[in-house]
């Protein structure tokens, strides 16, 4: 084949300009190799026409489905504030039951449990800060009492609703807190281990240095003792020789 593949393919798929096509046809009339190539590829094209896909029943259709109702959203304050209120309630109830006293004074933070103090004392402390009921007129007193009762009922209803939501949330929170605490403990243990290892290494170094110093001191001391001993021995020997000489020379 002497013509370019691109030209041949363009001729095969009839995507040549008229002039180019005529020129190629003239070439084909003269060139046997190119003619055979074109005939062979046209035959392949015909075979390709025999391959047909199955004809399934498709029937695709886009259908608009009604939007699913959105889940009722909780009030914005219901999440965090509700949870905080519930937590305070639980803590307060727990503190009341266990009679926990938390105080921060000059002697630091004091946490006391038990029934050492009488409940009456606490009530008295609270009552001090509320206005004395006796100072109000009877009508105002009735109004305030009613308003107070209504307020208590509202609070009870609100707290009751929140208390129902607490267990599931608190379980998940407990688990999350437990996971966090476990992670913190593990981290702390690892940190302590690292610190211990460092301290141990430093201690070993210190001991080693101290041992070397002590050995050096002992060595020096021994040398000093040895030198002293040598001098003393020499002195003693000299003395002995002198005494010997003195005793050996006896005038007759």
């Amino acid at each position: 084949m002497c013509e370019s593949k691109e030209l041949l393919v363009s001729f095969l798929y009839d995507e040549l300009a008229t002039g180019e096509r005529q020129a190629f046809e003239r070439h084909l009339a003269e060139c046997v190799a190119c003619r055979e190539e074109v005939d062979g590829l046209r035959s392949t094209q015909r075979q390709l026409g025999r391959w047909s896909p199955p004809a399934p029943d498709l029937g695709f259709e886009i259908i608009r489905t009604p939007a699913a109702p959105l889940p009722a959203s909780r009030p914005a304050w219901g999440g965090l504030w509700g949870l905080a209120a519930a937590a305070v309630l639980v803590l307060a109830a727990g503190a009341a039951l266990a009679h926990i006293e938390v105080r921060y004074g000059a002697d630091g933070l004091v946490l006391r449990t038990g029934w050492a103090q009488t409940p009456a004392a606490a009530v008295t402390t609270t009552a001090v800060q509320t206005p004395a009921p006796a100072a109000l007129a009877p009508a105002a007193w009735a109004q305030q009492t009613e308003a107070l009762e209504r307020r208590i009922r509202d609070l009870e209803a609100s707290l009751g609703a929140q208390a129902k939501a607490v267990p599931a949330q608190s379980d998940a929170e407990d688990r999350a807190v437990l996971r966090r605490v476990s992670a913190l403990v593990a981290e702390s243990e690892a940190r302590q281990q690292r610190v211990m290892t460092t301290h141990l290494a430093r201690l070993t170094q210190d001991i080693d240095a101290r041992r070397k110093l002590d050995l050096a001191l002992i060595d020096q001391g021994l040398m000093r003792v040895q030198s002293q001993s040598g001098a003393e021995i020499r002195q003693s020997r000299d003395l002995a020789q002198r005494m010997y000489r003195a005793t050996a020379y006896q005038p007759k």
């Binding site: 995507e15 035959s43 391959w51 896909p53 695709f60």
Partner: protein, 193 residues
């Protein structure tokens, strides 16, 4: 008078679901055929075709008509086919039934075609499908788009993001390999033109 693709697209963008479903009806078979020839499996081809129309519907507002609607659909379908091949990490298959039901053939045969001819035609189709599945993906896709969907070289080049000359080379190489394979399989001499 039937509406053009462009008119139906414009109506669909305006929220007319029936217009889009007319487009689906018009193009579901070509898209299915494209997916089938690329992937070689009926079920996968059906899934790809369905997903193609879903994606087209969701992205319709982004279609600005810079290309033909059909080219846009082909592009979506080809991308899905590529994803499928990548995900499955396997070459396309030539899915053909092992046995041929003669009774079914007899029932389907048109009066002018004998059962023998129909059988021979099916066998030939199987051999061609098998030879196509053995081609490299680029050559196979180029041949499918040219031979079965009649796209121009330019349209194929845009769809496959490659130069015009590359499209022609892929076509030439693919056809040459097919010619050799079919000749080796005895197709040209037995069922030749």
């Amino acid at each position: 008078m039937p509406s053009t693709d462009e008119e139906l697209v414009a109506l669909s963008v305006g929220g007319d679901l029936d217009s889009f479903n007319q487009l689906v009806l018009r193009w579901e078979r070509p898209i299915y055929a494209l997916a089938y020839r690329v992937l070689g499996r009926e079920e996968d081809a059906r899934d790809v075709a369905q997903e193609t129309f879903l994606r087209a519907f969701r992205a319709l507002k982004g279609f600005k008509g810079q290309s033909k609607f059909s080219s846009w659909l082909y592009r979506i379908a080809l991308n899905l086919c590529r994803d499928w091949i990548r995900r499955e990490r396997r070459a396309p298959v030539s899915q053909v039934p092992e046995g041929i039901d003669i009774a079914e053939l007899a029932g389907e045969a048109v009066s002018s075609e004998s059962i023998e001819n129909r059988l021979a035609r099916q066998q030939l189709g199987r051999v061609v499908g098998h030879a196509m599945s053995a081609l490299p993906e680029e050559q196979r896709t180029a041949i499918i788009l040219k031979e079965y969907h009649g796209l121009t070289f330019q349209e194929i080049a845009e769809l496959l993001d490659c130069p015009l000359s590359t499209v022609k080379t892929r076509l030439y190489q693919g056809l040459t390999v097919l010619r050799r394979q079919l000749r080796d399989a005895g197709v040209e001499s037995t069922f030749g033109s």
